[in-house]
Amino acid sequence: MTEALLQALISGLALGGAYALVALGFSITFTTTKTLNFSHGDFVSAGSFIGLSVMLLLTGAPLRGSIEALVVHGNEQLIAVFIAIAVMGVLGIVLYLTAVRPFAGKPGMAWVMSTIGFGIILQSLGLAIWGPAPMKVPAPFGEGVIRFFGVGFRSQELLLICVTLVVMGIFDWVMRKTLIGKAMRAVAHDRNVAALMGINVNAIMLGAFFVSSGLAGLSGYLLAPIASASLFMGLGIALKGFSGAMIGGLTNPRGCVIGGFVLGILESMINLWQAQWREIVVFMLVILVLAFKPNGLFGKKMVEKV
């Protein structure tokens, strides 16, 4: 039984790591621009395919070819991850300029529809390029199962957990200790005052969308060897990541990451009990948290000014 519990914990942490990265992405844009990117899931899917395509191109395989026969080396994996992050980051800026800035702060919620629309365009483009079938992606440290006290996991799951923790640590440090972090917090607090203090609000917002979308690309790249690259995988991850953010508190990056991990572990533990109850329990919990703590477990109280 201990073995099963430990196994569920490891599986849950791996799943939770993916949710946490997505939750952090939601938090970054929300705190700085008070908007959310509803196409975040499509950015995750697209990131996985960009990473895969870079690997295919670097190894000289056709773009829609199978990666099964390929030997992908560390260098190619490194280039792939940086390009995936960069491309998705730039796309995030495009999203901000075309679908968020024209509508943000205006009455109505046009940005909700425009970001969803951006995602649909992204997915349709992806379907035209890569087709609907999921594609297998090789893990940088191989497919073998690592055994530890009778618990089995793959290197990619460990990598995902570690990368999430490192990213969270770096982000936390940047936000609290650096000038750019202080500027971001100032913009989050009040963009007009921040502008008066000489902070380039527009640049901060562009940066927020770059980082948030880059994180989506990173999570897509990290998830692909676990869940295979698919244009339909992002939606589920984004929904759970968003739920993690709601539980932890959308305005608190640390809370978002914790919320993501909690959700992953919870899912895995419910599977150990009755898998068919998983979605019911998870979303009941989200509703309960929102009912009693509308800003999430770690969120700060926020006053909307109209």
């Binding site: 039984m1 073995e3 099963a4 196994q7 569920a8 599986s11 791996a14 799943l15 199978s66 099964e68 087709g131 609907p132 079938a133 999921p134 594609m135 297998k136 497919e143 199962v145 055994r147 089995g152 996991f153 793959r154 676990i226 869940a227 295979s228 339909f232 995988m233 589920g236 895995s268 533990m269 599977n271 150990l272 898998a275 068919q276 998983r278 979605e279």
Partner: protein, 399 residues
């Protein structure tokens, strides 16, 4: 005797008449509609292979002089796994293309969505892929049922899988793991009922979401139940993740599955080695018989990427049976063809030689006695036989 001018006139007249007659000759082509997913879902490979099988049968019939002195052609439409598109395709095939029969689809749900249209218009349908038990049953009580099938049937596959499991298990502990889609849920119901016919209850029954990638929690519970035999009932991609999760917890009981595992995602996602751990049902494989080998070679020459030979073979047989019925009826009239299908004599096919394949009360050309086991071996599907498969007798095939 005609003058030169007269000759020219008659010549032109004959030529003109021929030109006018040409479209009429083309209109004489016997059109068979094909409506299935060929691009979007996990079953798209099934749909594409079945189209190629049907086209191969049509080509062979045309080379042998056609049918009732006319050529036959397959008019194909992709339903992209969406019921509304499938219905739109069916209307278009029936009303614009004036097809005299329909073949399809890869997804049972899609097929259920459009079946009533040909039934109302008295156009015979043969399903060479979809397996839901209800497909041929829906219009059974209306008197004239136009829906036939040359494919595996869920309940019959389960009868074979359970028969194997009961014979293979040493401690009488058989566990189920099924996906939460309609396919898995119906499968679970049938699995429980058939296992009960053998006087047994499952040692554990677990569920997983169709998009899940980690089933270690569920498998840990099954492992703890002590089951030495596991039946996986889900679609290809998810089944691959069940296998990957089994590897994680190092639990490899005897593992059985349905023909959903014929799809390549199983080997792409699980890897060739892991995929070999699974044995699953099939009506035919490319190595079953000399005829199957021959058809497979012919199809691979035209379509090197074809993967699901089993649906190509079933679809090939469906067109052959349809052609035999049209010949017997001496007409393409739907009503007459339906009667002929119900009264066909011996007809040669690739899956088998059919002896009176259909009757008024039976619209299934294949049944559990025609099914056997298959397995992935070095990236291809081959027949699977062991002491257990050889020991299964018709009396074991309870359903």
């Amino acid at each position: 005797m005609l003058s030169k001018f007269g000759k020219i006139i008659t010549g032109s007249a004959v030529a003109a008449a021929l030109m006018i007659a040409m479209p009429a000759v083309q209109a004489q082509t016997i059109k068979i509609g094909y409506n299935s997913d060929m691009s979007a879902s996990g079953s798209a490979e099934f749909g594409l292979s079945a189209l190629w099988g049907a086209e191969q049968a049509a080509d062979e019939i045309n080379q042998a002089g056609g049918l009732l002195g006319r050529k036959i052609s397959i008019v194909a439409r992709d339903d992209v796994a969406q019921p509304p598109k499938a219905i739109q395709n069916t209307n278009e095939l029936l009303d614009n293309e004036k097809v005299i029969a329909l073949i399809g689809s890869a997804n049972s749900g899609n097929m259920m969505a459009w079946l009533h249209l040909p039934q109302q218009k008295k156009i015979p349908v043969i399903s060479p892929i979809a397996t839901a038990t209800d497909i041929t049953k829906r219009f059974e009580s209306t008197g004239e049922n136009y829906i036939f099938r040359v494919s595996m049937i869920d309940r019959d596959q389960i009868a074979l899988i359970v028969a194997y499991a009961v014979k293979a298990t040493k401690n009488k502990k058989i566990a189920f793991i099924v996906d939460s889609t309609g396919y898995g849920q119906q499968g679970l119901k049938d699995l429980n009922q058939v296992l009960a016919l053998h006087g047994l209850k499952p040692a554990a029954e677990e569920k997983f979401g169709g998009k899940d990638t980690d089933m270690t929690s569920q498998l840990s519970k099954i492992k703890a139940s002590g089951a030495d035999t596991l039946i996986i009932y889900g679609l290809a991609d998810a089944n691959a993740y069940v296998l990957r999760s089994m590897e994680k917890i190092n639990y490899f009981p005897i593992t059985l599955g349905s023909w959903a595992n014929v799809n390549t995602p199983v080997i792409q996602l699980a890897g060739a080695k892991l995929a070999e751990k699974l044995i699953f049902t099939a009506s035919t494989t490319e190595t079953s018989t000399p005829k199957a080998k021959e058809l497979n070679a012919a199809l691979l020459k035209k379509h090197p990427k074809m993967t699901a030979f089993v649906t190509a073979a079933q679809s090939y047989d469906a067109v052959k049976l349809l052609a035999a019925a049209i010949k017997q009826a001496g007409s393409t009239d739907g009503d007459k063809v339906q009667k002929a299908l119900e009264n066909l004599g011996t007809t040669d096919g690739v899956v088998k030689t059919y002896q009176k394949p259909f009757s008024k009360t039976n619209h299934e050309a294949l049944s559990v006695s025609d099914f056997h086991f298959a397995q992935w071996k070095s990236g291809r599907i081959v027949n699977y036989e062991d002491s257990v498969t050889k020991a299964i007798t018709p009396a074991d095939l309870l359903k």
